[in-house]
């Protein structure tokens, strides 16, 4: 039986280092190649030795697909391709291809230059890795080889995020990456057609959350920022350079303009301006409204938001600072946090999900005394707020996507086990499909039952279609044909054509049965009695009385002759071919029972 096998190397009952192996009809595909923000040791990258112990990855994997540019989805890529060694194709969308190397370089700098780690990938490796990338369009069907094809769908989550359909013959799987089912201030909503995959692999970050309307959250956010600024406090918003940052910038920019606020808004790192450039150039990937108005006013040109300098952190007075990275695990956001944490007038707003082990996760779970490097204890007095601005689908959104795609099976990744359990039950109840949630390293095997495509001769098909215009559930019509199999080429033709093509003659098998009936009347009258009897019994069949004195039932011929010895007995000759076997056999037994008494 053909099967689909799925093994998460990362993101199995976990968030971080997304990396999922899928084998489908003999093709092996790796979905995402991410790093884990919560670890600084070997565990930060997926365990690629699982894929193959000895032998090259390139020989084993047919392709690698990256869903979007977040590091937990692409952070291990240079390590994987250049240090472990993979030379096959890597697929991602154009914006991902453009932005991914920049984030990787950023990540490398923080790890190597600031933390001083060795044995990490180099800038050159990032460049070499990106040379192996093939950019794909939305909805383009990319033929990886003769059998394997992939197709990208819009996922909304960040600029260039995509869901991917992987298809071999009639078997297919869809991997969502991270997605968002509600349009936001700068991106549209994820969309997929009713592609009915055998398997849908979906993220489940917010498996149990049903979020209130976006408007309320935005109002809350603006209120909190406004209040803090009014009382002279400083607001720190840790973000990733691309994605949420742009949405929140648009939000604050319009709010500042409307309220005529003067407090400065800063955006840390040089990435910002570059990031905004990407948004301008890839504006076709943003939402309808921004695309429509970009000629008049480009939403990504901010008037109120200025570049941040390290020295500004010590400036007196209120300010709002967007700083990277988003989980407070390193870099500038962490530096600023340490400076401001002691003052209760200040506020830190975490606009997204934080992975376990990060400072962000710790303060969100209520920890107020943090152990920093060098055993220093940092007391957090500033207000800590969490606003779910991550562009992930919530439970409602996930259900909506399952409904849209109509998969046979669902597999959950990129979420916490407990929450997954809940969603799994919900999906199984509502859609009556199997739902899986493998842990890392655990393999799920699904049996598939693909149909087998063959070519049918148009003559045969048309003949059948002409017969069966109205399907009848009680009496399904059978079609009959011959399948010719020659060098992997399968053709279904009518039996006559098959015989002709192979140069074979038909062999006709005919039966003639003598049925003796007691009847003193003349033959013609016997025939008439047979005719009327059959006519009354066989209502659904064609029964004809032919001019030559015989009776035809469909193509079965019945003739009557006098018995050579006994004039009181007539012999009915029932003659049929093998193709009419059932009816012929039935007729003889029917006639053997005799004819009903003629009404005299």
């Amino acid at each position: 039986m053909p099967e689909i096998k799925v093994t998460p190397l990362g993101a199995g009952q976990d968030v971080g280092r997304s990396c999922i192996l899928v084998s489908i009809a003999g093709k092996n595909v790796m979905l995402d190649c991410g790093m884990h923000m919560g670890y600084n040791d070997d565990r930060r990258f997926p365990d690629f030795s699982y894929i193959t112990q000895n032998g090259r990855l390139t020989d084993f994997l047919d392709c690698v697909i990256i869903s979007h540019f977040h590091l937990d989805h692409c952070g291990a890529l240079p390590y994987f391709s250049e240090m472990v060694g993979y030379d096959g194709p890597i697929y991602m969308t154009h914006p991902t291809k453009a932005i991914c190397p920049i984030l990787l370089e950023d990540y490398r700098k923080i790890t190597v230059d600031k933390k001083g780690e060795t044995n990490f990938f180099t800038s050159q490796m990032i460049k070499d890795c990106m040379k192996k990338v093939v950019a794909v369009h939305l909805h383009q069907t990319v033929q990886v080889d003769d059998e394997l094809e992939i197709k990208a769908y819009y996922a909304g989550h960040v600029l260039g995020a995509a869901m991917f359909q992987i298809k071999v013959g009639s078997e297919s799987a869809v991997y969502t990456g991270d997605y968002n089912m509600t349009p936001d201030r700068h991106l549209g909503a994820a969309w997929i057609d009713k592609c009915r995959p055998n398997l849908l692999i979906t993220e489940s970050t917010y498996a149990t959350t049903i979020r209130d309307s976006k408007r309320c959250r935005e109002r809350d956010f603006l209120k909190k920022v406004h209040e803090t600024v009014e009382r002279g406090g400083k607001v720190l918003i840790p973000v990733f350079a691309l994605g949420r940052a742009q949405e929140l910038c648009i939000l604050l920019e319009t709010f500042w303009e409307r309220m005529n606020l003067k407090a400065p808004i800063y955006f840390s790192t040089g990435l910002t301006e570059k990031a905004n450039h990407y948004y301008k150039l890839f504006i076709t990937w943003t939402n309808q409204k921004i695309r429509k108005t970009f000629v008049q006013r480009n939403m990504f040109e901010f008037k109120h938001i200025k570049a941040f300098d390290r020295a500004f952190a010590d400036n007196p007075g209120p300010m709002v600072v967007f700083a990277t990275p988003g989980m407070l695990h390193a870099g500038q956001s962490l530096q600023i946090f340490r400076k401001w944490a002691g003052n209760e007038k200040n506020m830190v707003i975490m606009p997204g999900y934080c992975v376990q082990g990060t400072v962000g996760h710790k303060i969100l779970s209520g920890q107020r005394k943090l152990e920093m490097e060098g055993r220093q204890i940092l007391e957090v007095k500033m207000q800590v707020e969490y606003m779910s601005f991550s562009a992930h689908a919530d439970a409602k959104g996930i259900m909506q996507l399952v409904r849209q795609a109509e998969p046979d099976n669902v597999l959950l990744v990129h979420g916490e086990a407990k929450k997954m359990e809940f969603l799994k039950q919900k999906i199984e109840q509502e859609f009556h499909v199997n739902c899986y949630m493998p842990a890392n390293g655990e393999t799920v095997t699904l049996l598939t039952h693909p149909n087998i495509p063959v070519g049918i001769s148009l003559g045969l098909l048309k003949r059948e279609m002409a017969l069966g215009l109205l399907p009848d559930a009680k009496r399904p019509k059978l079609m009959h044909g011959t399948l010719i199999m020659k060098d992997n080429n399968f053709r279904l033709v009518s039996s006559e054509q098959a015989l002709k093509e192979l140069g074979l003659a038909e062999h006709q098998l005919r039966f003639t049965c003598r049925v003796h009936i007691h009847d003193t009347r003349k033959e013609q009258e016997t025939v008439l009695r047979v005719y009327s009897h059959l006519k009354s019994v066989l209502k659904a069949h064609s029964v004809q009385h032919l001019p030559d004195g015989s009776v035809m039932v469909e193509s079965i011929l019945i003739q009557a002759t006098a018995h050579s010895e006994d004039p009181g007995t007539k012999v009915l000759l029932v003659s049929w071919t093998y193709q009419d076997e059932e009816l012929g056999s039935y007729l003889t037994s029917l006639l053997k029972k005799g004819l009903p008494q003629a009404p005299s």
């Binding site: 154009h94 000629v295 009496r475 399904p476 011959t482 279904l492 062999h507 039966f511």
Partner: protein
């Protein structure tokens, strides 16, 4: 499979393909050469133009090249190959009862919208006090002076559409990406491919599982700004429909660009102005890029470049955001991230300025000598009319024609006598005949179909036998209002066999490498997809006390038995009979075969090369036994 040709213009095609019960319109170009029959529409009433002898001022209207060859409301889909080939779309979607879907790429739609917007704007800003239409009457037209008298199909000339109609038409378009497979009613699959001619321009593959038609329209193998042409996907076509070749087969686009630059520089250095009548998108991007590289070396850094069009700004901005549709070099720039086209820098450094029209800011800021890009290339409407009037009298100035759609001599006619220099540098990057023959050798279609113009040399160069399509078998040609039956017959269709049914099949090797299996199955057809299922198991009638009705046992005559093949070796058959307890077997030879007699059972079996006839008494047991023995020797199909 038929092809209906609705347009006689080879570069602005409009064909309808009927294929597997779908009706597909391929492009709907708008032939605007008829506007040359009208006088220019000036913004300011010009005493000279209105006093011209001849026919009075007429509506600057456009020409729709359609006939009643086919009911356009039956068209299921329209496939657009590039933005020049969609200009007639509002006429079709808004006025024919069309209810289908239009497919086009995003750049095609966006730039197509700009072209339509410009056209509507040009026409609407010079409202007519009165419009005449009676002259279209055949009787009246006959009395008009030439060339109006000789113009064909004047009755199909239409007024220009409105912006409302444009918006409504464009709302019927569904956006598609290159290599996206689009299913039409489950019967046909269409796929756009990059054609290399313009931003988002595409060729189309129209295929079913066993047939493939390629529609090649406006393709280019030159490296300009768009993504290169996808040739490999055109391979293995049964039919290749070839339209939109270069209109100037004798000119080399690279040479023309060089000539363009040097003439421009020469004029400006002598203190004259340069006028370039052009469309607001397309070659203008390449010209600006050339000038960007050229102006410093040619010492033109201080000469202002003006781009005047109601959509100038949009066109320049849109060009920058279609990174995915651009050639590799430009894509790489976007990854940096830098704008793919250098005109961004020209605008930033104030070397290139764009204005919606000559009114307003332009009239205050405009300095001479300068270079002006503006439309419309027919010189009949748009801001270009004003510049022709303004600069025509001075021999210092130059007008450079780069668009190949209109004859420049005809375009200039109403402005004569003209002192300004006229340079003709048509830049048409579409395929020339040498490239076509190379392409056809590469992709090897079984049949080529093309407009009749491509099967004979152009009238002006009748001796140039190299300016025709050269392929084997010779291309089939069509002309306007002709229906062409395409030369292939469909023989097979895809059908799927359910796995349970496939498992139950018993293949039999008949000849080396060829196996057969008889299939009896239930056919399900839904949305033009066919599936074969296992026949249902016969339902056991529930044991009930009710008296059985006679008709319950009547077998269904539709339960077909397989055909039989082979022959029966008499000796072996007799042996088998004896083995099965028939002791009194007697064999008689006949002319065609043998008769086997079972005397005791009064049964006779006639065996011939390809038939067997069992004649017996009504003894079902015996008959079935004999039947099964005979079947052992035969193969079933």
């Amino acid at each position: 499979m038929k092809l209906y040709s609705l347009s006689g213009h080879p570069t602005l095609p409009c064909n309808v393909l009927k294929f597997k019960s779908t009706t597909i319109m391929l492009d709907c170009g708008l032939d605007m050469t008829s506007t040359l029959n009208f006088l220019p529409l000036p913004l300011v009433q010009s005493p000279r133009l209105s006093n011209l002898p001849g026919w009075a001022l007429k509506d600057g209207n456009t020409f729709l090249d359609k006939t009643e060859l086919i009911d356009l409301s039956t068209v299921d889909v329209i496939l657009i190959s590039n933005y020049h080939c969609m200009m007639a779309l509002p006429y079709i979607t808004e006025h024919t009862g069309f209810t289908g879907t239009v497919y086009a790429t995003e750049p095609t739609v966006q730039i197509g919208r700009l072209l339509m917007e410009e056209l509507v704007n040009f026409i609407e800003r010079v409202p007519k006090a009165q419009s005449a239409s009676l002259w279209k009457n055949k009787e009246v037209q006959r009395l008009l002076p030439a060339p109006l008298k000789d113009a064909v199909e004047v009755s199909t000339w239409r007024r220009c559409y409105t912006m409302q109609e444009v918006n409504s038409a464009l709302s019927k378009i569904q956006l598609v990406g290159y290599s996206q497979k689009i299913e039409l009613f489950g019967a046909v699959q269409v796929t756009p491919l990059s054609s290399g001619y313009a931003l988002g321009s595409s060729n189309w593959i129209i295929q079913s599982h066993y047939e493939k038609v390629s529609y090649v329209s406006g393709s280019s193998l030159l490296t300009t700004h768009p993504q290169p042409m996808d040739q490999t996907s055109l391979k293995n076509s049964d039919v290749l429909i070839l339209t939109g070749l270069t209109q100037i087969p004798t000119a080399n686009p690279d040479g023309m660009v060089g000539e363009f630059c040097s003439n421009l520089a020469l004029t400006v250095r002598n203190g004259g102005n340069v006028l370039i009548p052009c469309y607001p998108s397309g070659v203008i991007y390449d010209l600006l890029e050339c000038l960007y590289q050229y102006i410093d070396s040619a010492g033109l850094s201080n000469v202002p470049f003006y781009f005047i069009s109601p959509v100038a700004n949009s066109s320049l901005e849109f060009a920058q955001i279609f990174a995915e549709w651009l050639c590799h070099n430009k894509q790489t720039k976007v990854y940096l991230p830098e704008p793919p086209f250098p005109h961004a820098e020209l605008i930033q450094t104030n070397k290139l300025k764009h204005y919606p029209s000559i009114h307003g800011d332009f009239s205050n800021e405009f300095k001479q000598p300068c270079v002006v890009f503006t439309g419309h290339p027919s010189l009949r409407f748009g801001d270009v009319v004003h510049f022709m009037e303004l600069w025509g009298k001075s021999s210092l100035n130059t007008v450079i024609f780069t668009e190949p759609d209109f004859s420049y001599l005809d375009a200039l006619a109403p402005y004569q006598p003209l002192a300004m220099k006229c340079i003709y540098c048509p830049i048409d990057t579409r395929l020339n005949f040498i490239q076509v023959s190379k392409l056809l050798k590469e992709v090897q279609p079984l049949h080529v179909v093309c407009p009749e113009q491509y099967t004979q040399p152009p009238p002006a160069q009748a001796h140039r036998m190299d300016l025709v399509i050269d392929c084997q078998p010779p291309a089939m040609s069509y002309r306007r209002a002709e229906v062409l039956a395409l030369p292939f017959k469909r023989r097979y269709e895809k059908i799927e066999i359910m796995p349970e049914l496939a498992d139950s099949l018993v293949p039999l090797e008949i000849k080396p490498g060829i196996s057969l299996a008889t299939v009896s199955a239930v056919l399900h057809t839904k949305d033009n997809k066919h599936v074969l299922q296992s026949p249902p198991r016969p339902i056991q009638p529930p044991a009930s006390k009710k008296r059985k009705r006679v008709s319950d046992d009547i077998p269904d005559c539709k339960l077909l038995k397989p055909l039989l093949s082979g022959s029966i070796p008499v000796d072996q058959f007799v042996q088998t009979l004896e083995k099965h307890g028939f002791s009194d077997v007697k064999v008689e030879d006949t002319a065609k075969g043998h008769i086997v007699l079972l005397q005791e059972a009064e049964t006779l079996i006639q065996i011939e090369e390809d038939s067997t006839h069992i004649i017996c008494d009504n003894d079902e047991m015996l008959r079935v036994r004999l039947r099964d023995l005979v079947l052992k020797f035969l193969q079933k199909f």
